[in-house]
Amino acid sequence: MNRPWIGPEHTYASVTDKISAIVLTEKAPRAWLWGFGVSLLLLSMLVAATVYLFAAGIGVWGVNVPVSWGFAIINFVWWIGIGHAGTLISAILLLLRQKWRTSINRFAEAMTLFAVVCAALFPVLHLGRPDKFYWLIPYPSTMGVWPQFRSPLIWDFFAISTYGTVSLLFWYVGLIPDLATLRDGARRPWASKVYGFLAMGWRGSARHWHRYETAYLLLAGLATALVVSVHSIVSLDFAASLLPGWHTTIFPPYFVSGAIYSGFAMVLTLAIPLRAYYGLEAFITERHLNNMANVMLATGLIVAYGYLMEHFMSWYGENAYEHAVTINRMRGPYAPAYWALLLFNVIIPQSLWWRRVRASPWALLAVSLSVNLGMWLERFVIVITSLHRDFLVSSWGMYYPTRWDWATFLGSLGLFFTAMFLFIRFLPVISVSETRELLSEPGASRS
């Protein structure tokens, strides 16, 4: 713990310049252009798939009766899960005075925002009449009708929109001092104008800093309470139903830990290439990676415990339908997905017990990717296997995703990475002011 969180060679000026450089350099680097191009391509696929969907109807997807929720909901839950790490890292670690958050919270928050955007997309797309999505909002309509507040989907609507708003505020508030830095550092006048506008005339006054820190701390507290609630509520979409395999009280906690799990995995997936490419090893040190790996290992174990409890309950409880669902998951037509999920989500991450794995960024990247995949499979198993064989044997069915399901899913990745690349190019990926603060502290070197 006595090792500094920032490389010894750095000063206030150097960190400022180093981080701002990514944004303020005139020319976009080649690799960035490539990545951005590929992302744009995927994004355009999403656009095409959506246009076709709206033109032809939801039937172009593989959904049917009994499986009337498919990829859309799987992707929704997957994305919202990923969207949890950002706020969590920023908020909870801030409250816990975990200084190491500083280097990763900024783009973790950005990631959160974009993930939430991707997530919020799907519930709208999957509607039979997407043009009527706003009927979920309680507004005084001429029909005099209102949303139905007992429906978990309404809870969802409030949770997601609140989460989106608060994450945005939290992110923006964190950005204000750095926007000021960019305003003052930008050489191009238009750039300094834009950043100046966004900085709202921040000048680092002591009074302002005082209120700013209070606000930021309170926001962190609120966000922490929020982040726990959001995925709990998402899990209620399933837990509040009466389907075997959905109707279970363990869902909220195990969805939340699953969300943190996948969130950290995605942060690592982004952080490792980023630090390598922009040479930010001094800021995102191996200690950071190590800590994140530890969090992943811990949450991963909680998730594994969740799986275990599900099976225990279906065996211990007397409910024959629950039991049938468990057996069906292991032996039914979708068994491969189930076993793959265990491999990617439970077996492979166990390698994190070894320091050598945690210490090697690329091994860590591999594990993170496996977890991302595993978490997607988890949602697939939960959504599909519970629906396709429920109570009445006569209505058992199958679900086969169509090419349009895939196009929409991969397309959403395009949306996410497009946003991510723009963020890297135009905003400081690491909080400069907080980094300076770190430097100012005893123990941190400041030549």
């Binding site: 609140t162 550092g185 709202m200 005339g201 309170l218 509520i233």
Partner: protein, 182 residues
């Protein structure tokens, strides 16, 4: 004092310091010397700086609490009114006022309102956004967002005197003291 400002060629003096300890010390000194209309600027929040210039408690916390309470109230009232009073419907045989189902929305509304209160309260109290401020006229001030620390004494301060104050600030160990033009 009005006459003083009119006669004064500037709105105050801006002293530049190398690090935050020097700034805090200077600020304490200035406050001890009786200066009240002063402000300090730093590229990151500095421990004890605001207290040094005599700023102790801010009103943000109660504002946020208010927001939260309001959110909870609005959330519950809305759901109760809409599903039990304005458009009562038998949904799944549940009571019109099935409060357990209302909890999630109340919870979210509480957090939403509190968060909005926190952010906009902070901006409001800080008087932001404020695109123009005299200190921006000092070229060196650009480093306030980079690696320099500043103490600012306004000319409107009763003790303010261009020469004395400049001298006073030098004594506090300022690298440089700049005139802040109007």
């Amino acid at each position: 004092m009005n006459t003083a400002t009119e006669r004064a060629p500037s709105c105050g003096l801006l002293a530049e310091f190398a690090d935050h300890k020097a700034l805090v010390a200077a600020a304490r000194g200035a406050y001890a010397a009786g200066y009240r209309r002063l402000d300090a600027f730093s590229p990151f929040p500095v421990e004890g700086l605001s207290e040094a210039i005599g700023f102790h408690r801010d009103a943000l916390a109660p504002v946020v609490l208010g927001g939260g309470v309001l959110g909870a109230g609005v959330g519950y009232a809305m759901q109760y009114y809409l599903s039990a009073v304005h458009y009562p419907l038998n949904v799944g045989g549940r009571p019109l006022h099935s409060w357990p189902a209302f909890v999630p929305v109340i919870y979210e509304m509480t957090i939403l309102f509190a968060a909005l209160a926190a952010v906009f309260g902070m901006l409001l109290l800080n008087g932001l956004p404020r695109p123009y401020h005299p200190v921006f006229n000092v070229p060196a001030f650009a480093r306030a967002s980079r690696d320099r620390f500043f103490l600012y004494i306004e000319s409107s301060d009763p003790l303010f005197d261009l020469q004395d104050t400049r001298r006073f600030l030098r004594r506090q160990g300022a690298l440089d003291v700049a005139d802040v033009p109007a």
